[in-house]
């Protein structure tokens, strides 16, 4: 059984076809780096897997089950927004809010639920961190807490939407290493979306590249190539390798580099 299987999936969002007739199969226990230009549908694909967007056509199976909302086997870190008025709250309460958070009633945790929160915080080494108010944590520390929150309920597929955005290279490395370590220790599948390939190179087993409604999945050497990327971008793309780094160029401009800077 694969972690994620898409059969001829077509997804429209806001009147635009984001994915068209995509078929792919992601095996269990893999670390997948998801890349692609802005608007290529990285977030939309995640929301479709979560059952929040219904595909126009085709079928999606998550760990053998049809994609549906509230699937406990899928963990998720949404793209970080500014945390509006709730910044003073400590990390522990923030993480714990996801514990059975969909059930009615008072947010009083049972002993088992508290242990689950402790376990998740321990997994990412954030037990100390969780005592501090959120507003006093750095971007990297906040990603740690978000990862702990996503691990509640012990998911077997983890979807991480741009966790490296607005982090400096040092913290980017820290987050990737931590996710890799957790992924290996728990033997789960991770889909990690990012703007840049290089911070992920050492960690990923496969890359899922989206562009112009299409998707390419495979090992880095199979996907990050001139023909595949030229097809996904719809223009002439060059791939330059330099010591353990890969640069994807359109003409003399490195793609995605600039867009990433806009976000930072």
């Amino acid at each position: 059984m694969s972690a994620l299987s898409l059969q001829q999936v077509t997804v429209s969002f806001a009147g635009r076809t984001v994915l068209s007739d995509v078929t792919l199969e992601i095996g269990q226990g893999l670390f997948i780096g998801m890349l692609g230009p802005n608007g290529a549908g990285k977030t939309t694909l995640m929301r479709t897997v979560l059952g929040l967007i219904r595909p126009v056509g085709g079928s999606i199976r998550v760990l053998g089950e049809p994609a549906s909302r509230g699937n406990a086997a899928v963990g998720y870190i949404p793209q970080l927004r500014s945390l509006a008025g709730n910044m003073r709250l400590r990390g522990w309460d923030f993480v714990a809010s996801a514990c059975n958070g969909h059930r009615w009633g008072l947010p009083i945790l049972s002993r088992a639920a508290r242990q689950e929160v402790h376990w998740a915080l321990d997994m990412v080494g954030a037990s100390e961190l969780a005592r501090r108010p959120l507003m006093e944590t750095s971007g990297g520390e906040r990603q740690r807490l978000l990862l702990a929150q996503a691990l509640l309920g012990r998911p077997r597929l983890l979807l991480l939407d741009e966790p490296l955005i607005s982090l400096d290279p040092h913290h980017q490395h820290g987050v990737v290493t931590l996710v890799k370590q957790v992924q290996q220790e728990l033997g789960i599948t991770v889909i990690f979306s990012a703007h840049e390939l290089n911070p992920l190179l050492a960690a990923i087993d496969q890359v899922l590249y989206l562009g112009r409604g299409q998707a390419a999945l495979g090992k880095v050497d199979e996907v990050i190539t001139k023909p595949v990327l030229s097809r996904l971008y719809g223009s002439n793309i060059d791939v330059i390798r330099m010591k353990n780094r890969i640069f994807v160029m359109a003409g003399d401009v490195e793609v995605e580099k600039e867009e990433h800077c806009h976000h930072a």
């Binding site: 945390l83 008025g85 809010s97 059975n100 958070g101 009615w104 009633g105 008072l106 947010p107």
Partner: protein, 271 residues
């Protein structure tokens, strides 16, 4: 002071409303929706004066119209999120309408001050019962929805993925806020609802980063401010609403200054 019936009523009404306002206000501040709460009270003004014009009970006019306003705001949901201009426009339109209703119904004009600035010393036993029932209904509803409310407030996208209906949560919560606003208006009036709903909650959030402690603290602060305000009003003969606003803002100011001093110290020593 407690030998007077009106003072007993004032203390009971103040107690009921402030505890509710503190608790509901905590979540309102957490969700960053304080302006919506402020706007709802103005919508209530139009409701109360409109009801009076039609010969209906101003209090029930207030309650129904704020409730309608709250539920519609919740239903509009994300489209209204952060659009201060839309909320502000509705707020001023509501005040303007209230003014118009008062213009046609001059007999009620004497009550306008009570509506705008509150009149806790004039609460009768019937009103007390209404406040008690509504307050209990609000707290019960809040207790039922507390878990998804916290989840949806802190992590909306994740909550949605886990099966929480954001719109349902928003509508239910703003209905509670609307009823709480209607209750607060009885004590501090339309213009000063912020003082009971937002003041104590914001102060509590500066004092603790624990969720449960914060809610409790917000309720206790609101209660202390309301009761102390009523007491001070009795002895000074100054308006109760003034004292409550003075206490509420002083508490917030004091905690803010304390915070700034505490945060400056490690920086100064590091330099």
């Amino acid at each position: 002071m407690l030998e007077f019936d009106f003072m007993q009523n004032a203390f009971i009404a103040g107690g009921l409303v402030s505890v509710l306002a503190g608790v509901v206000g905590f979540f309102l501040v957490m969700r960053g929706q304080t302006f919506a709460g402020h706007a709802l009270s103005h919508v209530g003004f139009a409701g109360a004066t409109g009801a009076a014009l039609l010969g209906l009970s101003p209090m029930w006019g207030l309650i129904w119209v704020t409730l309608l306003g709250g539920v519609s705001m919740g239903a509009l949901g994300e489209r209204l999120q952060g659009s201060d201009i839309v909320i502000g426009t509705i707020l001023s339109l509501a005040l303007g309408l209230g003014m118009l209703f008062l213009h046609f119904f001059t007999a009620y004009a004497t009550q306008a001050t009570a509506l705008l600035f509150g009149n806790v010393l004039g609460v009768n036993t019937d009103t007390l019962w209404t406040l008690a029932w509504l307050g209990m209904a609000c707290l019960l509803l809040l207790a039922i929805m507390a878990r998804p409310l916290v989840f949806a407030s802190l992590q909306p996208e994740l909550a949605e993925a886990k099966g929480v209906s954001l719109r349902q949560v928003s509508m239910l919560f703003l209905a509670i806020v609307a009823l709480t606003t209607a209750e607060c208006i009885q004590i501090v009036g339309v213009l000063l609802v912020f003082t009971l709903m937002v003041g104590p909650a914001a102060t509590a959030q500066k004092l603790t980063s624990h969720l449960g402690t914060g809610v409790l603290l917000a309720a206790l602060l609101a209660l202390a401010e309301a009761w102390l305000g009523i007491t001070l009003a009795f002895y000074t003969d100054w308006p109760t609403s003034f004292w409550i606003t003075a206490l509420s803002s002083s508490a917030y100011l004091a905690v803010t200054v304390l915070h700034m001093l505490r945060n400056r110290r490690p920086l100064a020593s590091a330099a």
